[in-house]
Amino acid sequence: MQFYAEPLSRLIDELRRLPGVGAKTGQRLAFHLLAMAPADVQRLADTMVEARRRITDCSICGNLTEADPCVTCSDPSRDRSCICVVERPEDVIAMERTREYRGVYHVLGAAISPMEGVGPGDIRLAELVNRVKAGGVTEIIVATNPNTEGEVTAVYIANLLRPLGVRVSRIAHGVPVGGDLEYADEVTLARALEGRRVM
C-alpha cells in the first residue's frame, strides 16, 4: 500500500540518505518542508546546491574551501613549518576555536579503519609525505581522534614520517578541563598519567 504521494516518498528517501536520518526523522523533515513557504524551500534548495558547487577541497591541505588554496594556506602570518594533521574538516574548526594554534593543517579525510575498509592508501597520506618532502616543515602534530582508528593512524603517520627527519608529536590525552577526577574513566586517567608533565 502506498502511504505517501510519489514526490513525497522520494523526498523522504532522499532525506534518509543523510547521516543520522532514519524513517521517522525523514518523514518529520519532509512534512516540515512541505509546510514551509515555497520561497523558503526554494532558498534552502538553492543554498544547498550553491554550497555544493562552490566548496571544493584545498589542493594543499584538503580542507573545504571556496578559494584554492584555502584561507589558512594562503595566510602569510601562518607558520608553515608546523602542520597539524586532522581526520576531517570539522576538526580544523575545533582546532581553530582554541585560538592557540598558528600553524597550517592537513586533512586526511578519514582514519585508517580495517572494519570500514579504509586503508593507508585511501586517505591523504601521500600528499602529507609530499608536503614534508618539499621541505621547510619541522614539526607534524598528529591530532587524529583518540579512538582506536585515530590511534593506529597516528602511529602509522609517525612511522611513515620518522625517516624524513621531521619531528612528529601527538596531541595530549587526559582529563578534560573542569572535569572531576572522580568521574574520569580508567583509560583516560591512565593516559593522563602517561602524558603528565614536569611543573
Partner: protein, 268 residues
C-alpha cells in the same frame, strides 16, 4: 527496564546520533548483543574509554527491547598494543569481524568468549606475530563452533595419512588423491602443512611462536584455511580485503625504489 551486569569485549563500534556509539559486544553469558553508549563520543563521557574496539570490561547495562544501553563500565583491558600497531589492528579487526559474522545474537558463548579474549591477549604481546595468531584463531574458532575439519584421514573413503594429502574445504577435511575430485576447491597439503593445521587447532598461541611464515607448509595451511573460512562465512569480510590491500601496497612499495609510503612494518 532491568539492569544486568556482564563481562564483555567490544567487537564493533559504530557512531550513532550526535555523540553516541553503538557497540557490538561479546560476553560469555549473554553471547553477542548490541548496546548503545550514550554520549560516548564526548570528551567528558565516563564511557569513552570502554566504548572502544577490543576493550574488555565489566559492564552494567539497561536491558532494552531491541538495544541495551550501557550504563557504566569498568575497563579490564584496552589491548593497547593491538590498537596502536597496524598489523595487530588489522588482524584484531579480522578476528572481531569473523566472530561477529559467525556468532548468533543472545546465545551464551563462554568458549568463544574465552577464545576471543585469549587471542586478543596473544596479539597484545610485544613478540606477537599477528598473521600466525589470526591463523590459529581461525582454526580454533571454526572447530569450536561446529566446523572442526577432519585432519587425520580422508573424509570420503577413510584413507589414512600420508595418502590423504589434500584438503577439501567443501568436504570439511583431508582427501586422498582418489577422492579429491569430489571437491573442486581442494588444495594440496603436505606432511608439514597437515601437522601445522593440527598444531593450530590444539596448541596455545605461546607454542605457535616458532611457526615460520614463509615456508611451503605455512602457505599451504594458510591457503587451505582461507578457503575453508571463505566457504563457511557467507558474506565477504571487509577486514580480509583490507589485509590483502595493505599487503599488496607493501609489496608495491618494496619494489618502488623511491620508497613512497614506507610503513614501519608490513602486514604479512
Amino acid at each position: 527496564m532491568a539492569m544486568v551486569g556482564c563481562e564483555g569485549i567490544v567487537l564493533r563500534v559504530r557512531d550513532f546520533n550526535e555523540a553516541d556509539r553503538i557497540l557490538t559486544i561479546l560476553s560469555a553469558a549473554e553471547g553477542k548483543f548490541e548496546a548503545v553508549a550514550r554520549g560516548a563520543r564526548r570528551p567528558r563521557s565516563s564511557m569513552a574509554g570502554a566504548a572502544q574496539l577490543f576493550t574488555r570490561a565489566n559492564m552494567m547495562l539497561f536491558r532494552g527491547r531491541s538495544l541495551d544501553t550501557l550504563s557504566s563500565a569498568e575497563v579490564l583491558s584496552t589491548h593497547q598494543r593491538v590498537r596502536s600497531d597496524l598489523a595487530c589492528m588489522a588482524y584484531g579487526s579480522y578476528i572481531a569481524e569473523l566472530t561477529d559474522a559467525m556468532t548468533a545474537e543472545r546465545e551464551p558463548a563462554p568458549d568463544v568468549y574465552s577464545l576471543v579474549c585469549s587471542t586478543l591477549a596473544a596479539l597484545d604481546r610485544k613478540e606477537a606475530r599477528p598473521a600466525v595468531v589470526a591463523l590459529g584463531f581461525e582454526m580454533k574458532f571454526l572447530s569450536l563452533i561446529g566446523f572442526k575439519p577432519e585432519l587425520r584421514q580422508c573424509v570420503s573413503c577413510g584413507a589414512r595419512e600420508p595418502e590423504a594429502d589434500w584438503f577439501g574445504p567443501n568436504e570439511g577435511g583431508l582427501l586422498c588423491a582418489r577422492c579429491r575430485a569430489n571437491d573442486l576447491t581442494a588444495v594440496p597439503v603436505g606432511d608439514e602443512a597437515r601437522g601445522l593445521l593440527r598444531a593450530l587447532m590444539v596448541r596455545p598461541y605461546a607454542r605457535l611462536s616458532g611457526v615460520g611464515e614463509n615456508g611451503k607448509a605455512y602457505v599451504q595451511a594458510r591457503t587451505a584455511l582461507r578457503r575453508y573460512v571463505d566457504l563457511r562465512v557467507e558474506s565477504s569480510l571487509r577486514t580480509l580485503e583490507f589485509i590483502d590491500d595493505v599487503n599488496s601496497m607493501g609489496r608495491e612499495e618494496a619494489n618502488d625504489s623511491e620508497g613512497g609510503l614506507e610503513p614501519d612494518r608490513q602486514v604479512t
